[in-house]
């Protein structure tokens, strides 16, 4: 009896010893924006996963993303200034394939448009709990 997933040979069924979410954050702390690549079907994945959503393989490898992408959808969240004010939110299609949520910095919210080419960077927020890092974009 094997618990292999479809598309995965049993000898490859090795799960990582830490959550892929944690690995993703570890790379960000090292100033690297990394996403997973499936060595079975050659697709890139995001958000971080234990197995490939395309072929169910667990043979996944972390690779540094190009950071290049295109805005797929955008909205402006409207808030009172004391709650942080208005801000944009986007879905970006990375050149490698996966889609991720982010925001576009450096231009007015109204100027962020679907189809805009963007480039990733890592934003550092410091508060009483320490540093948290997240991927943001700028117009390419």
């Amino acid at each position: 009896m094997t618990n292999a997933l479809p598309g995965t040979s049993p000898e490859k069924l090795v799960f990582p010893d830490q959550s892929p979410d944690t690995t993703y954050q570890d790379f960000l702390r090292n100033n690297q924006f990394c996403i997973q690549h499936c060595n079975e079907c050659q697709n890139f994945l995001f958000y971080p996963r234990l197995c490939c959503p395309h072929c169910s393989s667990v043979d996944l490898e972390w690779r540094e993303a190009s950071g290049k992408g295109t805005v797929y959808a955008v909205s402006i969240v409207r808030q009172r200034p004391e709650k942080g004010g208005d801000h944009n939110v986007v879905l970006v299609d990375l050149d490698e394939g996966p889609r991720l949520m982010s925001r576009v910095d450096g231009i007015p919210n109204e100027d962020v448009k679907i189809g805009m080419k963007v480039k990733a960077s890592i934003s550092v927020n410091t508060d009483e709990d320490g540093d948290t890092r997240m991927v943001v974009f700028r117009e390419a």
């Binding site: 979410d21 958000y47 959503p53 797929y72 959808a73 955008v74 909205s75 402006i76 969240v77 409207r78 808030q79 942080g84 801000h87 939110v89 879905l91 889609r99 991720l100 949520m101 982010s102 925001r103 679907i114 948290t132 997240m134």
Partner: protein, 393 residues
């Protein structure tokens, strides 16, 4: 899918509602609201509450059938069923489950119900307040996406972008609900008409939603009593028959972090074909539609995915004149809907579809014979019922 169908086998015998209140304003506890709506549905049908032997609800309703049975003096409960899914995606699915149980012979008189007292139990429209984030929210909260309105906004933006649909289409949907509420004394927004100027000048919540694109939050309860077609011959009201019922969603429709393949979708594209096949009708046969407005953009996509309008015709179709009961091409949300009548998680829209077929709406569509009522756009699963009068069987 098989050729088996629920068509004509089950009828709505009665509908019941409490007074609809603004959120937190109910003088009654949620359980009492539920009981009141169920008793009202029984009175409407002319059936004793003691005859109920099946209970169906949705959206994790808190009012347990075992307690309700005891309170109603029911000797024998033969069915208790909960439709999966948060939000209002189950407001038609709940009736589908009840109808299936009657057709299968599990129960004879099934009540489908929803009761909400948000003053008693806390609210929906805000994001959860927790001291830490994990799972999906770890990838959305840092970018300031918390509330349901914010979560659904980009689906609509993308859909409007792909089809060149203008903001005015959303405005027309909002205005249709408010227009109908002005003739409906039960409506929370009765006496509060909406104009184009008022809509345009209202604050943005999250683009493309203005304040008036978002549903209310209310206290109250609603109930619908189902019986077999045979039993329906003896009831007080003109029966509305279920012609088709479907719920579900497509591949990975609920994928986290906005990762679904068919992203700009209300999730009805796989559901609607089953509905029309069962009902043996086409979208052109629909006389009146009641479409769940969590947000107007969801209504837009739902109508298109049910074939009620082609995407390239949306800017022409979604105009107030086309959507009103008084001579519109396809009257929509004729009670005021979730935006302006009451947000009873969409069960009020099902009741309005039934009222239209009985000829009892406060915005009656002339000779309405077939009504479609859809629930919960953009969540998973979503659900829809098509109802018909006896003439349509």
């Amino acid at each position: 899918m098989s050729e088996r169908s629920i068509r004509g086998k089950v009828a709505v015998a009665g509908v019941g509602e409490t007074t609809y209140y603004k959120r937190g304003q109910s003088p009654d506890a949620e359980f009492l609201l539920g009981l009141k709506a169920i008793v009202a549905a029984c009175d409407d049908a002319g059936i004793s509450p003691k005859e109920i032997d099946g209970f169906c609800s949705f959206a994790d309703d808190r009012n347990d059938p075992s307690r309700l049975s005891a309170a109603l003096g029911i000797k024998e409960m033969n069915l208790s069923s909960m439709q999966w899914g948060g939000g209002g995606g189950g407001a038609a699915g709940v009736l589908q489950n009840g109808a299936a149980a009657i057709a299968a012979g599990y129960a004879d008189v099934v009540v489908c119900y929803r009761a909400l007292a948000q003053g008693q139990f806390g609210r929906y429209g805000q994001g959860p307040q927790v001291p830490y984030i994990q799972g999906e929210r770890a990838f959305t909260s840092p970018y300031g996406l918390m509330s349901p309105a914010q979560m659904f906004a980009m689906k609509v933006v993308r859909f409007m972008h792909e089809h060149g649909i203008k903001q005015e289409a959303l405005r027309a949907l909002s205005m249709a609900s408010y227009h109908h509420a002005q003739n409906n004394p039960r409506a929370v927004m009765n006496g509060k008409p909406l104009t184009e100027e008022k809509y345009d000048n209202s604050r943005w919540i999250v683009e493309p939603f203005h304040l008036f694109d978002c549903c209310m939050e209310n206290d109250g309860a609603a109930a619908i009593l189902l019986v077999s077609a045979e039993r329906a011959k003896d009831i007080k009201q003109k029966p509305a028959y279920i012609l088709g019922a479907a719920h579900g969603s497509g591949y990975r429709a609920a994928a986290p972090v906005h990762n679904s393949g068919d992203y700009p979708s209300s999730n009805f594209s796989t559901v609607a074909p089953h509905l029309y096949r069962q009902a043996q009708i086409t979208p052109e046969d629909i006389d009146v539609a009641q479409i769940y407005e969590n947000f107007t953009g969801g209504v837009l996509m739902t109508m298109i995915e049910h074939g009620l309008c082609k995407p390239e015709e949306a800017n022409d179709f979604f105009q107030l004149d086309n959507l009103i009961a008084q001579g519109g091409k396809l009257p929509l949300n004729t009670s005021g809907g979730n935006l302006a009548e009451c947000y009873m998680h969409g069960l009020g829209l099902q009741i309005e579809a039934i009222r239209q077929l009985r000829g009892q709406s406060t915005n009656q569509v002339k000779d309405a014979k077939i009504a479609l009522a859809a629930a919960g756009p953009m969540v998973s699963p979503v659900s829809t019922i098509i109802y018909g009068t006896e003439d349509t069987l």
